[in-house]
């Protein structure tokens, strides 16, 4: 998932491993954290990291106002036009996709459960056809019934990426769409039954252009949230999204606030997964980050929607105050921060020179630059642990930089005295700036001189680092990068960032992995229907990327999250690696 999108996943075993390591009295932790960390594993779920595996402060009490806030506004509340993890998590309070993630702590949160649909998808035709049956008695907030035709319309509608620029393009790429279909607005009369069929108001059948065994992951995308054609106003639909979930929008002021109140047409009998505890939600946008943290500490606000952790200023406060520390969780996410090593410009077109960059880098320094052990574990490859097929790849050492090996590689590359190149980073992200500075310091020791160039996040991929014409003309050799999984498998994480055939004129996230061997493995993974074998292939592809020295992974991301005061049912869902927003209630 691009940019700050935070939807993520990781497999149970690896997560549990990371957690036990965390609770096991790490000697670098301040003394205040040791006791609560230990008690987290005990039955009474309180203390540091209690929310990772337990429901903290469980309750069924209804009522109250849940106050949420975020430092900015996200892309859109329109389910067909959003690509932020926080938004995918939150929108489920007012919208219901066919399938969604089980509201449960930890690894259980990654399980898919039927939402609008009665059951998970039924496949036929070798995983090329997928059928879902809607539950009976579903209604929108205005009392009209929800039909499978609305789901079909919603999926087709968001294929129009000129109108709805945000959001993934999986349905565009995988549905068996007729050639003459452009969009629901431009070609409304084209028969699209070869892609999606609705034999009756309860049934919907998806036809894919190639087999995919994990289609339920697609069905869990917000794109399957029903939208009746009569109510669709295109890009303006975001001003009044028709609720299918337990809450409906009361006030919509983009950039300022949203308030949601109970949707009396929602029938709990049709919805086994939502508790719908609070009477209303107050969502404030554009709150300054430090202010937001302080208000959550004091209890004035309940939830930071972004779910990416507290600001640097609050990290020390939370670390040093035992009471606050007991309210904190430090989940690992399916997100990797890395540095792309671009192989277009010499001498980095030579693999040995790329290896020299990786050998020369101070991996511990890079971890510190990203925010230290609380912000992430040192990464060995692109794919984060917890995604099926992950293996610890020991192609390169993880220490503070190996000058001898770097020099050796430089000699092998024919540049024994080093070389000069340029590194780009996102200037509005202090951590990426620190990464760039750390690289400059470490590589200077082996004779590689870096010039640093910062660009704003909003144009980073469209006009600079993600635009091959620019990087070639300006001799860009290194670029900070980061990627989070759209869902929990190699496809959901790797396909967009290692397949060289996805590289376009601009707006690329894959900046450097251009290897026919990797592409072949991607094709192999797409074609493999057996999950275990498929995972193994993604693992091989991950290893292949490291062999080619196309990327320098920095950290597998972690965030320091703070549980709100007086909030019930708080836990970290493995689906998004932030608090699950479906279950929350107010004391």
């Amino acid at each position: 998932m691009k940019k700050r999108t935070l939807a993520v996943v990781a497999s149970g075993a690896a997560l549990a491993l990371a957690l036990s390591a965390c609770g096991g009295g790490d000697s670098t932790e301040p003394s205040g954290t040791a006791a609560p960390a230990a008690s987290a594993s005990a039955a009474g779920a309180t203390g540091f990291n209690a929310g990772l595996e337990n429901v903290v402060n469980p309750s069924d009490k209804k009522g109250g106002v849940l106050k949420m806030a975020v430092t900015e506004d996200w892309d859109s509340v329109d389910p067909g036009d959003t690509y932020y993890g926080m938004s995918w998590n939150l929108l489920r309070i007012y919208a219901r996709p066919l399938v969604t993630y089980n509201p449960a702590p930890g690894a259980k949160g990654r399980e898919l459960v039927p939402d609008l649909a009665e059951s998970l998808g039924v496949s036929s035709d070798g995983s090329k056809t997928w059928t879902y049956k809607l539950r009976a008695g579903l209604k929108y907030e205005d009392g009209t019934p929800i039909t499978s035709k609305d789901v079909k319309y919603a999926v087709l509608r968001q294929l129009d990426k000129t109108t709805f620029v945000n959001g993934p393009t999986y349905f565009n790429d995988w549905l068996d769409l007729p050639k003459d279909f452009e969009s629901v607005y431009k070609t409304p009369d084209v028969n699209t039954d070869q892609a999606i069929e609705t034999p009756d108001d309860q049934t919907i059948v998806f036809h894919l252009n190639k087999a995919y065994a994990g289609f339920d992951n697609f069905a869990a995308l917000p794109a399957t949230v029903p939208i009746p054609q009569a109510k669709d106003t295109g890009i303006k639909y975001r001003d009044h999204v028709l609720a299918s979930g337990p809450y409906k929008f009361d006030k919509v002021e983009p950039g300022k606030q949203y308030t949601l109140i109970r949707n009396d047409q929602w029938d709990p009998a049709t919805d086994p997964i939502r508790k719908a505890l609070p009477d209303s939600y107050e969502i404030t946008l554009g709150v300054q980050g430090d202010d937001l943290d302080n208000r959550i500490i004091s209890g004035d606000l309940h939830v930071d929607i972004a779910g990416s952790g507290v600001q640097p200023a609050a990290i020390a406060t939370v670390q040093q105050d035992p009471e606050l520390n007991a309210r904190a969780d430090n989940p690992i996410s399916a997100r990797t921060w890395y540095v792309s090593i671009l192989n277009d410009n010499p001498p980095l077109d030579n693999i040995e020179c790329r290896k020299a960059v990786i050998y020369g880098a101070d991996r511990v320094g890079l971890q510190t630059a990203m925010g230290g052990p609380l912000a992430g574990d040192i990464a060995t490859s692109l794919m984060p642990p917890g995604i099926g097929g992950w293996k610890k790849i020991e192609t390169f050492p993880l220490g503070t930089g190996d000058e001898a090996k770097a020099k050796e590689a430089l000699t092998a590359c024919g540049q024994p005295n080093g070389f000069e190149t340029t590194m780009t980073f996102r200037s509005d992200r202090p951590r990426e700036q620190a990464v760039a500075e750390s690289m400059q310091q470490a590589l200077a020791k082996v004779g590689i001189k870096l010039t640093l160039k910062g660009f704003p996040t909003s144009e980073y991929f469209t006009a600079y680092a993600g635009k091959p014409a620019y990087t070639k003309a300006n001799g860009i050799g290194l670029a900070t990068n980061g990627w989070g999984a759209d869902w929990n498998d190699g496809f959901g994480f790797l396909s967009q960032i290692i397949d060289s055939r996805t590289i376009r004129e601009a707006g690329n996230y894959n900046l450097s992995v251009k290897d026919p061997a990797v592409d072949a493995l991607v094709d192999q993974a797409f074609a493999e229907l057996d999950t275990a074998k498929r995972d193994a292939i993604w693992g091989q592809a991950d290893a292949k990327v490291m062999e080619g020295a196309y990327v320098l992974p920095t950290v597998y991301s972690k965030g320091l999250l703070l549980r709100g005061k007086g909030v019930t049912n708080q836990f970290i869902t493995g689906a998004f690696d932030m608090y699950d927003y479906l279950a929350l209630g107010v004391e």
């Binding site: 301040p30 020390a316 700036q433 620190a434 500075e437």
Partner: protein, 334 residues
């Protein structure tokens, strides 16, 4: 022709009075130029002299930054992450201030704050001085031309001044630095030198309005004075009168406003760096350090040292500038 500075004023009268009263040695009889008088006034102004002293000190610090840092600090961009507590990202022991790190270290990277503040002086002063020079050059030329020639020339230049004065400089500078920064190959310079040149240009080019307006006013009144009339009646022409008769009389206001513009430019550069369009990291500037410090507001020393550096520089220049004005132009009221 004698320069008007020497023929007009009290000092010509002073000589016969001194002779008549018969006091003082040969020194008392000597004529004193306006410059000398101003210097005497300035010497008595302790506050202004302190300001001047601090300014000289800052300039020396900027010039000898590498030397100072090699004695008392570490290279400004060198990481000292061993000084950082990686769990909190704070310097170990709160600030890391010690004999080794005089101002402590910055959070996260552990770079030596003392070295960065010292090196920051280079950027700040360099940009502020040269930007001031550009403003003063453009402002003086525009002001003198407008004031002396009058008529439609004055109208055009005055409107131009109004436009520049009404310009949202900060917003425009933000855009301009961003846009021009991309034309490295076309401009033939890159990296820090490009950024420094850009900042000098942007800050200098958009600040000439004030000084031009003042110079224009002064020129307007000067050109009607008797000595200009006299020169004109003797056949002197435009350029001669401009450069030999009027400009020497403008030295005082130019000096004063230049001195007062420098601190404004220091602040402007800091603001641009604070907003992230200034010099690129890792090069240290005071504004960028302040900007980084806001994210660690619980680590006060990170903000205090660059903040104090800006404060002291601006205060010193302002005190000196005020003193200079009092000395050169005692009739002006504050």
């Amino acid at each position: 022709m004698t320069a008007p500075l020497d023929v007009s004023g009290e000092e010509t009268k002073a000589t016969p009075e001194a002779v008549l009263s018969g006091v003082g040695g040969p020194k008392a009889i000597q004529g004193r130029s306006l410059g000398q008088i101003a210097w005497m006034r300035l010497k008595k102004d302790k506050v202004a002299l302190t300001g001047a002293g601090v300014v000289i000190f800052l300039v020396l610090v900027a010039i000898f930054a590498p030397l100072i840092v090699s004695w008392f600090g570490h290279p400004p961009n060198e990481f000292h992450q061993e000084m950082i507590d990686t769990m909190t990202m704070r310097p170990k022991g709160g600030s890391g201030i010690s004999g080794d790190f005089l101002f402590g270290v910055e959070p996260q990277n552990g770079r030596d704050l003392f070295s960065r503040v010292v090196y920051g002086a280079r950027i700040s002063l360099l940009i502020a001085f040269f930007a001031t020079l550009i403003s003063v050059l453009i402002g003086t030329v525009m002001g003198v031309v407008a004031g002396y020639f009058g008529g439609w020339v004055d109208t055009i230049i005055s409107r131009l001044m109004d436009i520049f004065l009404a310009f949202p400089i900060l917003v425009f500078a933000l855009a301009l630095v961003g846009v021009l920064g991309q034309f490295e190959t076309q401009l033939g310079v890159k990296g820090d030198s490009l950024r420094i040149l850009l900042l000098i240009f942007v800050i200098g080019f958009f600040n000439w309005g004030y000084i031009a307006r003042i110079i224009r006013g002064q020129t307007l009144s000067l050109r009607e004075r008797e000595f200009v009339d006299a020169a004109r009646s003797l056949g002197a022409r435009g350029p001669y009168i401009l450069f030999r008769e009027i400009l020497p009389n403008l030295i005082a206001p130019i000096l004063i406003y230049a001195t007062l513009l420098v601190p404004a430019n220091v602040l402007f550069e800091a603001a641009l760096s604070f907003l992230g369009v200034g010099i690129q990291p890792p090069t240290a500037t005071w504004g960028a350090m302040l900007s980084a410090a806001t994210k660690y507001y619980t680590v006060p020393h990170f903000m205090i040292f660059p903040g104090m550096a800006i404060f002291i520089t601006v205060l010193a220049f302002n005190l000196f500038g005020d003193g200079l004005r009092d000395a050169l132009d005692p009739k002006s009221s504050r």
